[in-house]
Every structure is written in C-alpha cells, then in structure tokens.
C-alpha cells in the first residue's frame, strides 16, 4: 500500500470549479486550500454563461494523488456546484500578460518585430517606454518574458490561468446541462 506521511510538492494541475455567485465563496475556497496546505499557483474567477454561477480556475502544485483529495474536499463546500481536474491533454489554457519595458525609442522597431513573433501587441508607447500585451499558454509567455528581459522589464502583470476542455464535455452537473 502506498501511504504518504506528509504532503508532497508536485507538478502543476488545473482544477476547474463552477461555484455559486454569492458573497464569501472565494473566501471559503481560498480558506480550504490554505488550511489544508494545498499550494495555489494561480486562481482566477469570472462570470459564466449563467449569471448565478462563476467559474474558477485554480492551478495547484501537487502530486496527482493529492489533487484527487483536493477535488473531493472542494466538492464538499456547499456553494461549489461542480469541480474537476481538467485533463492536461485536452486543455485549452490561456493567460494574459502585460509587460512594461523601459527602453529608448531606437529599440521600438526591434521590439515590435519580437512582439509579432509571439502574436503580442504593443498597446502603449511613450518616448522611453512601452507596454506589450500577450496571451497564450504559460510556456509561451515565459519564453516571451525571457526574450524581453534584455530590454529592461519595468513591471509585469500576469493573469492567472483560465482553461476549458476541448470537445462537448462541460463542467455543469447533469441537472444544469
């Protein structure tokens, strides 16, 4: 039998939740993660196709076995209508990145070209700074950040991950489908 004495650290898993859109729900969920020692890498909340529900996407760094336990514990929270770990194979995931670069105007053309390669946009320009907006999966944004580092990154703002599974499967329980 396999038995863990303590919570292991592990790989990244994406957990998707459909929750009631009510005050205090985020507190309940965040509280559960912190008191049970589950490490949150990112958490996003937003509206869904139904106004009475919100969707949360939580990325955790845990072993697969612990993620199963997370899902079962989260499911017990009354305002959580449905929760599932999304399959890494069928996952469409996106993050949004805004980067402010401080760099003389002569570099702007070079940066424009770089941005294009990453399907990013320059959304603000001033004489000695500009802001680049990019979206994509975490790996792509990490790579873009690396490339931009040499130009002098002033500020980074990155959203948490949002994700859906490919195909017709949805998270809603049968009575809401």
């Amino acid at each position: 039998m396999e038995r863990d004495e303590k919570l292991p650290t592990g790989s990244s898993h994406t957990v998707s939740l459909l929750v009631e859109n009510k005050p205090g729900v985020l507190h309940r969920i965040a509280g559960l993660f912190s008191r049970r020692g589950y490490n949150i890498a990112s958490l996003t909340v937003g509206p869904t196709e139904r106004p009475e529900y919100s969707r949360m996407t939580i990325v955790v760094l845990l072993s697969s076995k612990t993620v199963e336990q997370v899902v079962r514990q989260v499911q017990k929270l009354v305002p959580v209508v449905e929760v599932r770990e999304l399959s890494p194979v069928d996952l469409i995931e996106r993050e949004l990145l805004l980067v402010k670069i401080r760099t003389p105007e002569k570099n702007h053309a070079e940066l424009r070209a770089l941005a294009e390669t990453y399907e990013a946009k320059i959304v603000d320009v001033s004489p000695d700074a500009l802001i680049i907006e990019a979206s994509g999966n975490a790996g792509k944004l990490d790579a873009l950040e690396d490339r931009l580092a040499t130009y002098g990154i002033q500020e980074i703002c990155r959203s948490g991950r949002i994700a859906l599974e490919r195909g017709f499967k949805t998270l809603a329980p049968p009575n809401l489908k």
């Binding site: 039998m1 396999e2 038995r3 863990d4 004495e5 929750v19 009631e20 205090g24 507190h27 309940r28 509280g31 559960l32 008191r35 076995k65 199963e68 336990q69 079962r72 514990q73 499911q75 017990k76 929270l77 009354v78 305002p79 959580v80 209508v81 449905e82 329980p173 049968p174 009575n175 809401l176």
Partner: protein, 568 residues
Amino acid sequence: MAREKMTGAQAVVRALEAEGVDWLFGVPGGAILPIYDALFDSKKLKHVLVRHEQTGAHAAEGYAHATGKVGVCFGTSGPGATNLVTGIADAYLDSVPMVAITGNVSSALIGSDAFQEADITGITMPITKHNWLVTDVKDLPRILKEAFYIARTGRPGPVLVDIPKDIQNAELEFEYPETVNIPGYHPPVREEPRLKDAAALIRASSRPIIYLGGGVRTASAYEEVAQFAELVGAPVVTTVHGKGALPETHPQCLGMFGMHGARFANYAVQDSDLIIALGARFDDRVTGKLSTFAPEAKVVHLDVDPAEISKLVTATVPLVGDLKLLLPQLTAEVRKAFAASGRADLAPWVKKVADWREKHPLHYAVQGDEFIEPQHVIRRIWEKTQGKALVTTGVGKHQMFAAQYWTTTQPRQFITSGGLGTMGFCLPAAIGVQLGKPDALVIGIDGDGSFQMTLQDLATAVDLKLNIKIFILNNLFLGMVHQWQDLFYEKRLAETPLSDLPDLVKLADAYSCLGLRARKPSELEDVLDRALAHKGGPVIVDIRTRPDAHVYPMVPAGAPLNDMIDGE
C-alpha cells in the same frame, strides 16, 4: 402551509418548531433579543439557560449524540458567538449534527467594528459544514430549512446561521419550505460502489478484520453491521466512537484499538491481510505511524464522505455511500461470493487472535489500600449499573480508562469528545443526554482538570433537577499530560499538578446538590451506592484516585501500532 405575516425572529421560532426541535440551549443578549422574545411565546420549544455558551453547544452535542436528532444552540453577537466556537469545532470533528444560531449587530453596522460585533461566519467557516449570514429576511425560512438538512444528512456536522438584529425585526410572509434544492450539496458519486470487488477481497482473505467507527452510530446501522460481521466471521475492532457499534460482549468484538487500545486488538489489526473499514476515518490516534500501519493489509473502505476515501490510507476498494443502505448490499454480495466460490478458512486466524487475547488481556492491578485505582472505579460503576447507563466523559486519562473498561453493549451509550478532545465536555454533554433521554441513567466520568472547565453549569443541572451523576476521578493532576511528562519528558512536571481546589463537596453544597467524597478504597463502595441511589438532582462525587496510575497499553505518538509500551 399557508403564508403568514410575522417577524424574522418569529420565523426562527416557527422553523425550529417545524423541525421538531424540543430542547435548545443558549444565553440571551442584545443582538439576539428579538428571537428570545419570540421564544417566550412558543409552547413547543424548551430553552435551557446555560451559564456559558460553550456548555450550551456541548449540551446540544450530548443531546444529538444520544438521540440522533439535530442539537440546537443559541448565542448573541460577539462574545456569545465566539464562546460557541469550541463546541462547534468539537461537533465538526466528531460529525455531530448541530444548528447554531447567533444574533449579530444590525446589517448597517456590520463591518464597522460595532459594539459586540464579531465575524462569526468568517470565524466558523473552517469548522462548519456550511454557514450563512442572513442578508434578507425573505431568505430566512429557506436558509433554516437548508441548515437543518445539511446538519443531519450525509456526513452529519454543525452549521451556523448568523442573523443580524434588523433582520430579526423585519417582516416577512412566512412559509416553511417542504423541500430543499441546493445544487452544490449532493456531490455526484464519482465511483459506482465496486461491491463485487469488495466481496472478492473478503472471500479471499484469510486474516480479515472489521474496523467500526462513528459512522455506524450516525447511520444507525447496528443491525446491518451485526449481520455483516456475523456473515464474514472476522474479528471486529472499533474506534472510541465505534464503541457499541457491535456489543463489546459479542464474541467477535475485540473492543477499541489505537493509541490506548488493547494489545490484542492492535496486534490483530497490524497482522491482518484485509481491513474492512465501516464509517471510520483512520485517525492518527488509531493508525500509529502511518507508513507502518497494517503493512500487509488491503483495504475496503466504506464511508459516506468521498473525501475520507484514500485521505490517509489508500483504499484498495472504495465504497462511497450511506452504511445503512450500502452495507446490506455488500452483505448480499459477500453471501453470493461465499456460495459461489467458497472462502478462505478463518479458523487459524481466529485462533491466533484468541491466543493474543488470552496472553495480553487488558488488565489492571489493585495495589495496596492507600489509593483507589481509577480503572476499578469504572468497573465498579459499570457493574453496579449492570452496564446499562449512558456515559459521558471529560478528556484525559479518565476518558481512556472509561473507553477501556466501560464495556459498551448498546448503541449511543458511550459519548465522548474524540476528535477535538475537549476538556469540559462531560458535564454539559451529560445535561444534553439526560434531556434527550429522560428515562436513562446518565453517568459522567470526569477528571478534576476537565470538570473545572465547565463546572458553572452545575447550576443548570440543578435548575432542571437532572439526576446526572458526575464521578470525578480526582488525581490532582492534569493527568494525561502528566503521563506524557513521565514517559517522554524525564518526569519534568511542568504545570500539571493541580492544587486540591475547589473542595468539590462544598462546591456541590454551594450549588445545592449532593456532593460525596471517597479518599480510600475502603470508602468507595458506600459512596458509589449512595451516589447511584440519589434522586432529585445531580450528584458530584470526588473520588481520589492514584495519581501515577497511567493509561496502558500506550502507542507513543508516531510509533507503529504494535509498538506498545506496558500494559503487560
């Protein structure tokens, strides 16, 4: 039910009546006064004025433990609400159904650090199944309906409803809902119960053990458990909350295992090749060092809470569902498997366990005539009451002696704080038990330290003329901690000796109840007889017990389950 105009406070009273509540426990205050005022008119609800909200919550637990119904307690805003917290946490860890209702400052003042404002929904979020801050009086009937429903269904537990004062005074058209609709409450069952797989493991096992926990009590599945156990024929061990799930006089029952379980019970678990866990949660007090727990055993784990499955010990075959419904199906499947393919011969295993039982029995020695032995007190009370009393306990050595020596034969007979281990549980729980079971003989086995944590509610027991009998095993120590210091801290007794205060007989006198004392073994029998014969109110019995009588056997925290000290 016809709609009727009334205030939020009246709606609370009507909802409690509709839920069939009889006894409830609390202390009034400004922020809950409208509800108390409405309570004044109720013919059905009987409110017990406790002297501290914590005891109100424990009394509600005792009531719930003994009756299987939902316990109800009240507190005002701020300190009233925070005083409830220990009782709520206790109910949470022991899966006791409870509805706690608190008043709060008016909605307009919430968040302003108002007088006696505390964020009790925030505070109790981690220790309730769910809680609500009511923001619209129209929601009140639905919320109360959901509160009772959530408290008693699935894995039972406490919930809290916080009602601002203006909401209590606001008017609504009251109609109590007949049904609930909580989209997130019924967790979809992820795995179909693999009954055939479980039956196949049981059929093939030659060293099975059945491990019964508090879930048998909450499911009231005593009959179902007996049938299953007798069909399988395996030895049965229980947790402290499983005591009585199968009568401890049943030939298959080895009693409690774990940190202070009998040697033979722990040996049997460690040596088993299959553990069938029914409504139990592999607490660290029962597994010992997890990585060495029952190394050869496969595990069939039946629990209503999917989050308990494979939380600590990986289940070979998980069975998620209510014991009362699922166990008979498993029994039928096992019967089929036995009929179709026969089964392993259990005789050598049963013999081995019987040999352990004979070689390493639970026992204590009576040494000299100076000190009364705590275990002996428990045995004598048990014998004098023919094992029929309902028992509540404090927390400490006396609790574990009671667990070891109070042979439990009936459901809901042994009522204790197991998960949180709350000193002070005994007296208030006994009050709740006696109110829930007015004809029962209710005995408290308490410690001198534990008793002093909630003794103010002797007044409540006297007011209600409850015939509860509290036996205080007075060793003048915070004994359980003393034991750990003796064993693991080189006998450095930091802050565990208790002074011989208060004089418990005088204390009883001050509360107008009977107080008795036995200092020497020669005084014991007479004092026990007088206490048990007493009628007309509570009795407090101060029994001086041997201070260094420690609880054995003992598995040191973090040691393997079969690595016990002493008790030979």
